[in-house]
């Protein structure tokens, strides 16, 4: 975004657009200038040609849920390192969660994050504003000031903490209507999850780890969809993880409630059976659930009950994970593996095609976040935000090659097939072959 000079023209040859039609695609001045036979004809003399035969072209991915840790925990991640990870993962826009230190609950902090994103220039960084002051859950933050700031905040969330007070949640839902905003709820009934360490069920009973019951998520979602329906507001549900949550969302959407929801790649792919290792890389909030839950969120994503895949990329320093389970921090990095893991869960299983993946990882999240110029179709005249994906070569996830400052991935050594090989942000190459192009 900071480069003022226009990028060179790029002719992408032979890409499979959304996994279907194979076509050339010409980028001029950051915009898709031509598609198909016209593309090659329209190239100028200084045009760079990219051989994309065998690769799938998707619109640049949009993440609704990223923890970039800056300001406050720059040892774990910075806006710059997180932007690099995003670009390598095929993302052209991310939403940076508000639980930084200081909390992103004022126009000043969200503008700082926004400026850091502009300076890094590897993907659009859209700060999420806190719903309540200091994530304290008692007083509304100045949502209007954040919305009107240079960062133009549209998504508000206390993520990491639940807005558990029903009155405060109702007011927040009502208030953001004036801002065309949305409240993204971290659904976790706090009393039911005090000291919780993992999903409550057969595995927690054996491991002697305090349980995080599905009902703690589902009861908040049920309350919130009723509230959103009552006041006519827009609600977004973060990281849906249980079969019951999918059922409630399906019911609410059927009644016309304006609710959207996201699911993480890890909740599409991993179960609480992994916790039997007591390996803290599998410690995450909400916790990994059962195979029945994984099957349900996959079906919910496939049928559109769940709108989007969001990473919940949560970098943590080595010392916060290299310890006993109870002492470990919750969360896992996810930007660089999101597409590969999500494709393993959804495409390899036949639940979604690549057009469907583009819808869930780009089109719908951009719409939920009210992002102009992201999540657009691959049409002439649209901004050239796109990612080229190698879908046919098996590879093993290598944490040491990651761009994130943190290495807390649960996928080390896992074999995947879908891999982003080139990412373009408004026509400029931001990442290729696993490296960010600063």
């Amino acid at each position: 975004m900071t480069n003022t000079t226009s990028p060179a023209d790029v002719l992408i040859k032979g890409a499979s657009l959304l996994g279907a039609e194979v076509s050339d695609l010409l980028i001029v001045d950051g915009v898709i200038a031509a598609i198909g036979a016209d593309a090659a004809r329209a190239t100028g003399s200084d045009c760079q040609t990219v051989d994309a035969y065998g690769l799938v072209a998707l619109p640049g991915l949009v993440d609704l849920h990223t923890h970039l840790r800056e300001p406050g925990r720059e040892d774990a991640e910075t806006v710059a390192s997180g932007s690099a990870a995003a670009a390598v993962g095929g993302f052209t826009a991310v939403h940076a969660m508000a639980n930084t230190d200081p909390v992103a609950d004022t126009a000043g902090v969200v503008e700082q994050v926004w400026h850091l994103g502009r300076r890094a220039g590897l993907c659009d960084v859209h700060p999420v504003g806190a719903v309540t002051l200091g994530l304290g859950g008692t007083e509304l933050a100045e949502l209007g000031a954040m919305a009107e700031s240079a960062a133009r905040v549209r998504v508000f969330s206390d993520d990491g903490k639940c807005v558990s007070d029903a009155v405060l949640m109702r007011r927040a839902l009502e208030y953001v209507k004036a801002l065309d905003g949305v409240v993204a709820q971290h659904a976790q009934e706090p009393r039911l999850t005090e000291g919780a360490q993992m999903n409550e069920g057969a595995v927690s009973a054996v491991l002697g780890l305090r349980g995080w019951p599905a009902v703690a998520e589902e009861s908040i979602i049920a309350r919130d969809v009723l509230l959103a329906g009552h006041v006519g507001s827009r609600l977004h549900v973060c990281h849906v993880s249980t079969a019951g949550s999918v059922e409630i969302l399906r019911w609410a959407k059927g009644r016309g409630v304006d609710v959207t929801a996201e699911v993480t790649p890890h909740h599409l792919f991993l179960t609480d059976e992994h916790v039997r290792t007591y390996d803290p890389r599998f410690k995450v909030n909400p916790p990994l659930r059962t195979q029945e839950d994984v099957d349900a969120v996959r079906r919910g994503l496939a049928d559109g009950t769940i709108d989007a895949i969001a990473t919940d990329h949560a970098p943590h320093s080595i010392e916060d994970k290299d310890c006993e389970w109870a002492a470990a921090a919750m969360g896992m990095v996810g930007l660089e593996t999101a597409l590969g893991v999500a494709a393993a869960a959804m495409v390899d299983t036949g639940l979604l095609d690549w057009a469907g993946m583009a819808d869930r990882m780009s089109v719908r999240p951009a719409r939920i976040g009210r992002l102009d110029g992201q999540g657009r179709p691959l049409n002439v005249g649209e901004p050239a935000n796109l990612v080229l994906v190698d879908t046919g070569t098996r590879y093993s996830v290598d944490p040491q090659s990651m761009q994130s400052r943190s290495r807390n991935t649960p996928y080390a050594g896992v074999e995947l097939t879908a891999r982003p090989v080139a990412t373009y942000l408004r026509g400029r190459l931001t990442a290729s072959e696993g490296s960010a192009r600063r």
Binding site: V206, C323, A327
Partner: protein, 313 residues
């Protein structure tokens, strides 16, 4: 590869039987005027206790010393751990000092598992109680005690009563007794049974009186009074009435039935003084047997060139 004792589930029937048979042999040492064997001379056993538990620590200490091992007691209190040192750095320190076995008690479930699989330390790890997970040597000494009184364990009816949800003793006993072929029934108010208990290899019930019929063993678990404040049960009196073992309930047991408790007891809560001090109660024997069983575990883990104990790789 190093062998560890992390969970009662690590033990096959042959493993468990070997430990109990070995403990029988080693128990005879305790009857001799000189209660010492040279078996582990020159080996170092570290008792790494992140939680206060004097009785378990001295039991392991006595076991190791009777086998002539060098014993180092590392208590978290007053050590670098209380100043924020991580489990990892503590483990690296012990490794640098050359610990052959680490007996660990830790408030976090899975900490012994983490220690055994981290690569931080090369010695054998013995779980001496981790959080609300397991306490396998307690289950072994309980089985040893049952076997001495009832001669066989297979087919015996064992009733375990109390705070199963928070009990590492209950978890290890259920797993080991299932391996040994006993029929276990857990009895507790529904609030103190974990979600998922239905998948354990045992029965469960909310009715103590019905469960005591035909019982060969009644094992009472310690119930912490503060559970009452978290609404697990309404009052100490109500708990005692519904789930406590008193003389009246004891009188309905078969003549051969024994009463057990892992200690420390809350007299007047889960067990009355009359029961605790009766002939039925084998609670003090459990303590004695603990030393023999822990001798057997250390002997089998450290004694031979190839440990006879199976279990965790």
């Amino acid at each position: 590869m190093t062998r560890h004792l992390l969970s009662a589930a690590d033990l096959s029937l042959d493993d468990a039987t070997l430990i109990l048979d070995t403990a029988d042999e080693l128990a005879r040492v305790s009857d001799r005027p000189v209660k010492k064997l040279p078996t582990l001379r020159g080996r170092t056993v570290v008792n790494l206790f992140f939680e206060d538990s004097t009785r378990t620590r001295i039991s392991f200490e006595a076991a190791a010393k009777r086998l002539s091992a060098d014993v180092i007691n590392f208590s978290a209190k007053g050590s670098s751990v209380s100043k924020g040192e991580s489990l990892k750095d503590t483990a690296l320190t012990l490794e640098a000092m050359g610990a052959d076995a680490v007996v660990i008690r830790h408030p976090a479930s899975g900490a012994p598992h983490t220690l055994a699989h981290s690569g931080w330390i090369g010695g054998s790890i013995v779980n001496a109680g981790d959080g609300t997970h397991e306490h396998p040597t307690q289950a072994l000494l309980d089985a040893f005690t049952m076997r001495r009184h009832l001669s066989t364990i297979s087919g015996r009816k064992v009733v375990i009563v109390g705070d199963v949800l928070h009990s590492r003793v209950a978890r290890s006993n259920v797993l080991l007794l299932a391996t040994l072929g006993a029929e276990v029934t857990l009895v507790a108010p529904p609030t103190l049974l974990p979600v998922g208990v239905g998948q354990w290899p045992c029965e469960h019930s909310y009715d103590l009186d019905a469960s005591l019929v035909g019982a060969d063993v009644v094992m009472m678990l310690r119930v912490q009074r503060e559970r009452m404040n978290a609404a697990f049960f309404p009052s100490v009196r109500e708990y005692s009435r519904r789930y406590g073992l008193d003389a009246d309930r004891m009188s309905r047991l078969a003549d051969h039935a024994i009463v057990m408790h892992p200690g420390p007891m809350n007299r007047g809560l889960e067990i009355t003084a009359a029961v605790a001090d009766s002939d039925r109660a084998v609670i003090i024997e459990q303590v004695t047997n603990g030393v023999s069983v822990r001798m057997a575990v250390l002997y089998l883990l450290l004694g031979g060139s190839d440990s006879a104990l199976g279990g965790d790789q």
